[in-house]
Point group: C2
Chain length 779, copies 2
């Protein structure tokens, strides 16, 4: 995006200086506002033109049957798709008789700016209508972090030079027409669902609509109220029908005068509560917002973000693009998780309809670990959502003939929604991914209440799954056969190393936690024999190794397969899954996204330094990065094995994924995991941070271009600030009791009084590794 | 079925002595008549009641989109389903005002008999109407082997005791209502297609209808003409509308008189020919049939079958059930292939809508090898059908990124119709299966014209597929990874031994044939280098072996997997695929149907006798036979390794599959491969016949129950008769030049003058092997 002439790179905001319709849908994702409960795409106030109109409420979805050419036992019957709910963003303007539409007339200037410190989206327009009237329009929009049900817009319009009659229509619109879905499987399904109206109401400045979803029966309330400033002659009308509530303001405005409209918007939904209850709920939220007022909401928003940045900011010198990108990334990750409150963090947050609004494994492996160290309360909430789905996950495990819980590969409400099991049900690692996020959160926070109530049952039920999924053979190896690891170009493989290491951790931590909460574990049916069975399986976990190549195979048979014919694969044949059949991909050595590399990132102690270097060198020429999830992990391991320039390039790819639209589908929503990956590529990559087994360690190493890097993290109730320069790193404890960390393997004790500055040892410069032709980092 | 009290076991017919509505659909399959071009299910003449009404024309199908929950590159877009065409079997009878319907009134007697020597289905009924009139009805039906487009029915009705008014309606009915499809994936898809009428015509005794299929645009003609005998007062009316042509006979009939109606029925279809051309075609066929006459058609039918049985009959003493079953089997296999004439032999022949009327690999591996030795011209025709599909198969290979031809797993018209690629596209062995059938046919017949025109291109294009699918690794092993073998409970495995042996044969024979037809091969683009590449790949073909267990693994990783938990699998959980997900099945050692066992049957020289015994002992407790394809191969290998009583039990299971409805889906059509398997279990099993590399060898060994077995086979233009008793076997050449065969490894020369009687060596009695609990043979 930075390459686009419309954009400037600013430290604390994303600024679009000119409107380009060809990237409108992409900017709607980038300028999306959310608090994790409400999500509003950055659609223009006047509704049109749009790429994809989008107003979302976390977990409001509709369901539809999954069709199969050949069905089989255990296939999920219904899919879930995020719904575009009642759109409260719309404020239409008519200048004399002319609708304000930037596609007509003359657009003198148009700028939009997402302010990462204030948490608001500003827009400024100067426009002359086809009839020749010139107006200045500005709007400021926020979705409140502090008042979960509330969004607000301040909309101002003034005439230039001549008096004009303005008509403003502020609306709630249900059942908007949506563009038809694309062929790309990553975009959303076509939903023909219509919300059914239960109530519509408009009087004076107030409008309320209650609808419900026909199949899932979710009741959705939307309400708006307004504060209007303008000439004394201004009149206000209100009307409503089943799909629209509209407040109309009409006024003759003189040059120097303006109309200023504050629109408060409240949303609520429930699967249980009645129509009157939902009505009252949104009206009540509106009342509180009106009392706080527009300025009050902005103040609260700023204060919330000041607090966040004070503990999570990353500062950078030398690469202002990455500086912007990492703050943009943290801001959106925060938006996705801040007020989810026991609801999921979807792959696209609430920024677009991509992947049908589903949540996958990457929330636990990419997003939650970042939030654990920057905004941990969101992690506890997101994992409590998983905990709330245990019933469905246990039912699914039973259906699959397994014990414990089998979490869905993709879901909104807990049921498996994938119509292709080799890349979903078989990717059992999602269960250990959830366990990993639990373990990482517990190690980083020491949150005992969470551990007891939420962590223990999640660990126990997932450990049970692994114990029943694998088996110990005659050689005393615990094998996990026929599963799919993170690399989706290899499926149904035996002993995927990532999966086996994760399952090992899962079972060990389940055992250890069950022993600590003996009584509570007993209530879950855990006895000593079961704990021993987990420990034995973990102890005997089979981790294949290719003695001939001296590398760790991604899975047992991987290195025996033919290497993909990269030389005869054209640049236009990526991503491969859109141009080659699975039957071809699965048989070859080709890596869609980091798999063994990710294992080396999460299990830093399971591989020697030499092994890591050899493995990285082996997989690098096989990895095509047909997924936004890959670059961050490659950045992390590249940095670790001394491939610093390569690490920097991967860092840039990870950082600029959405701002540059590197995956060509930012229009469907931002990639939350890739955004989190930007932070990881910086902090775990060139920052060299690892946290395994509760130990914080650092091996920082800056690439040439970055002269200074500072980041803050939460750990064990403390806030740390780490400052890295080319030749030394300084570790500071900002609050809390003294703490021991490791710098290049050496233990150092830091306290609020004593920071430590340590030299960064010299590192041998390795020859740069190469990627498949045409697949070098995009940064 | 033999167990059902309604049935008697006769040597040369299948007799149902009493009508049981609960097995009506099953009997419709068993009593189906076909010549490979037309197929008529054994529906009652009066149309109702019925299980599944069925009138089929080979390759008349409709197409519909295949839906996917998650689509991906290379998935087939449309499926093909066999159509129930215009039903010409219907002859309704009204006795006074009462329709003849066996569900009402009193059924005094009802018998049906399929005569395997005459090729006709006879029915005799004595019925009293609810109003008290008693009638005798009989019908005889045939589908002509000699006049491909013709079926005929002789229908007779006479009053008992009192004069009666009869109304007979002889009809052609298009767009019959069909029962809704079942959940079982093996039954047919729901087709809501309606045939569109282009012409309907009825005058005097003649009726003609022309329809076409809406999507595939196939034009179907059906015509009927009648010869009527009856009282002088008899009147005839004719009428037609878009879905029906009807001839109505009305007569007052005295006791001692009768009405006799000969109905000639003609079918024709084309994707190209015009309505008038199709009309004329069926009228012409009718004319020829009328000239031949009813008695003439019966005579031709009998003569055709006499000729068939004289070269293909199997005689048996000691087990009259198997005697009946093997003739029933041969009769239906003949019916499926006799007049296919470059059209496929579907899995269910033309006996029902099961598997959507598709043709799979089992035609080439189970059906064609039997026809090769009993009715070889049908084999050449069926393989010419494959040859005609080369264009689509080459296109499919290109789509899959492969060279040569990739034949569809299931199809009617040549396009892949499977919506589940791991069990279809990945089952590449179908390509070598076709090559195997070609090789086996060529070795058995020496048909050089076929070899040059049809065999060579089929061998070349399939060899090309294998060469591009596999690869030679650093150790000089040619590997074929990620494919699915015959055992559909293991998919996407590396180096499936069956597949690799078949691919090896395929490439070797392609090379050898291409060298013999040098010029013709050049025209196909084959050069010496390509031939060498096939030979090298075949030479280096990797055949894994488990040194620890001393068994041949079904595929490279198979024996490393966990053994299925048979002890905790209930009898009601079979077939497993209806009760367990693929993700569970694929990870375990459990065999749906013979895989490595089938490899040992087809490649008798690739395994030592000891290895075969060890392998059989290993796989026997893992094989659940959730497929009708399994028992025959297990019978063959059980006999070879000395498990004679077990071989006999498998022979009985194979023989009685459809007559007993052992798979519980005979209602959807007969299992052609299992019927052929009955012959194979006898002839290759207890008869010990093998033909590999053009050599005929025998190791006969009768089970105790069978005191005598004689069978005839065609080979190299000769007809052989082999007679086996408990302690000796006699080999006779019925015609042709002297020929060398092998009896227990010893070469013997037989001629039309000299038969040879050889002693059967004593064999050590092995302890009986056991199957998974509850899965011992059903015979």
């Amino acid at each position: 995006m930075i390459q686009h002439p419309a954009f400037s790179v600013l430290e604390w905001s994303v600024l679009e200086k000119k409107l380009h319709l060809d990237i409108l849908a992409q900017t709607e994702s980038i300028f999306a506002l959310s608090n994790g409960h409400i999500g509003l795409r950055g659609n223009l106030d006047e509704g049109e033109p749009h790429g994809i109109p989008g107003s979302y409420l976390n977990s409001v979805y509709e369901q539809h049957p999954i069709p199969y050419g050949e069905a089989a036992y255990g296939y999920p019957e219904a899919a879930q798709t995020i719904l575009n709910v009642t759109n409260g963003k719309i404020i239409r303007l008519h200048v004399e008789d002319e609708p304000f539409d930037i596609r007509y007339g003359t657009l003198h200037s148009h700028s939009r700016e997402l302010d990462l410190r204030s948490g608001i989206l500003r827009r400024h327009v100067r426009w002359t209508s086809p009839a020749g009237q010139t107006v200045k329009v500005s709007s400021t929009r926020l979705v409140s972090f502090t008042q979960r049900a509330i969004a607000a817009i301040c909309y101002e319009v003034e005439p230039i030079d001549t008096p004009m009659r303005f008509v403003l229509q502020s609306e709630l619109v249900a059942n908007e027409a949506l563009p038809t879905a694309q062929v790309d499987p990553r975009s959303a399904s076509v939903m023909t669902t219509r919300l059914e109206c239960e109530e519509h109401y408009a009087r004076e400045t107030l409008g309320v609509m209650v609808h419900h979803t026909p199949t899932t029966g979710l009741r959705i309330g939307a309400a708006m109220d307004h504060v209007i400033e303008g000439p004394a002659t201004l009149t206000v009308d209100a009307e409503s029908s089943s799909d629209i509530a509209r407040m109309t303001i009409t006024a003759q405005v003189q040059p120097g005068e303006r109309i200023r409209l504050i629109k408060f918007l409240a949303y609520g939904w429930s699967s249980l509560r009645s129509r009157p209850a939902i009505h009252d709920q949104v009206i009540a939220a509106l009342s509180a917002a009106r009392v706080t007022g527009w300025e009050g909401l902005q103040r609260e928003q700023r204060a919330y973000l000041d607090e966040f940045w004070s503990k999570a900011d990353v500062e950078l010198q030398g690469d202002y693009q990455i500086q912007q990108a990492v703050r943009f990334a943290l801001f959106h990750v925060l938006q996705a998780g801040a007020r989810g409150e026991r609801r999921p963090i979807p792959a696209k947050g609430l920024t677009g309809p991509g992947y049908d609004g589903h949540t996958f494994w990457d929330t636990e492996i990419f997003v939650l670990p970042v939030l654990t160290l920057t905004y941990p309360s969101a992690v506890a909430d997101a994992l409590r959502w998983r905990h709330a789905l245990l019933k469905q996950a246990k039912e699914r495990a039973r259906q699959l003939g397994l014990k414990g819980a089998a979490f869905p590969w993709r879901t909104i409400a807990g049921q498996e929604c994938s119509g292709y099991w080799p890349a979903s049900t078989a990717a059992f690692h999602i269960n250990a991914d959830i366990a990993y996020a639990v373990v990482h959160y517990m190690e980083a926070t020491g949150d005992l209440a969470f551990e007891k109530e939420t962590g223990l049952p999640l660990l126990v039920e997932t450990a049970r799954l692994w114990r029943s999924l694998g088996y110990e053979n005659q050689d005393g190896h615990f094998r996990i056969d026929g599963v799919t690891g993170p690399n989706e170009y290899s499926a149904l493989a035996d002993n995927n190393v990532y999966t086996n290491l994760m399952a090992q951790l899962n079972m060990r931590r389940a055992a250890e936690t069950a022993r600590r909460y003996h009584q509570r574990a007993q209530a879950l049916g855990v006895d000593d024999q079961e704990i021993d069975s987990w420990l034995q399986a973990a102890e005997h976990m089979f981790l294949p190794y290719d003695e001939r190549l001296k590398v760790t195979p991604q899975d047992e048979a991987f290195t025996a397969h033919e290497v993909w014919d990269f030389a005869h694969t054209g640049a236009n044949q990526y991503p491969l899954f859109l141009h080659f059949p699975y039957v071809h991909l699965y048989r070859k050595q080709v890596v869609k996204q980091a798999d063994l590399i990710l294992a080396m990132q999460l299990f830093t102690n399971a591989f020697s330094a030499e092994q890591k270097a050899r493995n990285f060198a082996y997989y690098e020429p096989l990895t095509v990065r047909d997924s936004s999830l890959s670059a961050a992990s490659q950045a992390v391991i590249a940095a670790e094995v001394g491939q610093i320039p390569l690490a920097y390039d991967y860092l840039r790819e990870a950082a600029l994924m959405d701002l540059y639209n590197l995956e060509h589908n930012t229009q469907d929503g931002l990639h939350m995991a890739a955004l989190a990956g930007c932070w990881t590529a910086l902090v775990a990559g060139v920052g060299g941070l690892r946290s395994q087994d509760g130990v914080l360690s650092f091996k920082p190493r800056l690439p040439e271009a970055i002269t200074f890097l500072a980041f803050r993290i939460h750990f064990q109730g403390r806030c740390f600030r780490i400052e890295i320069e080319q030749d030394e790193a300084t570790y500071r404890l900002l609050d809390g009791e003294p703490y021991k960390i490791f710098h290049y393997g050496e233990e150092i004790l830091i306290s609020t009084d004593t920071s430590m500055t340590c030299p960064i040892p010299a590192m041998q410069v390795e020859e740069r590794l190469h990627q498949p032709p045409g697949r070098s980092p995009l940064g």
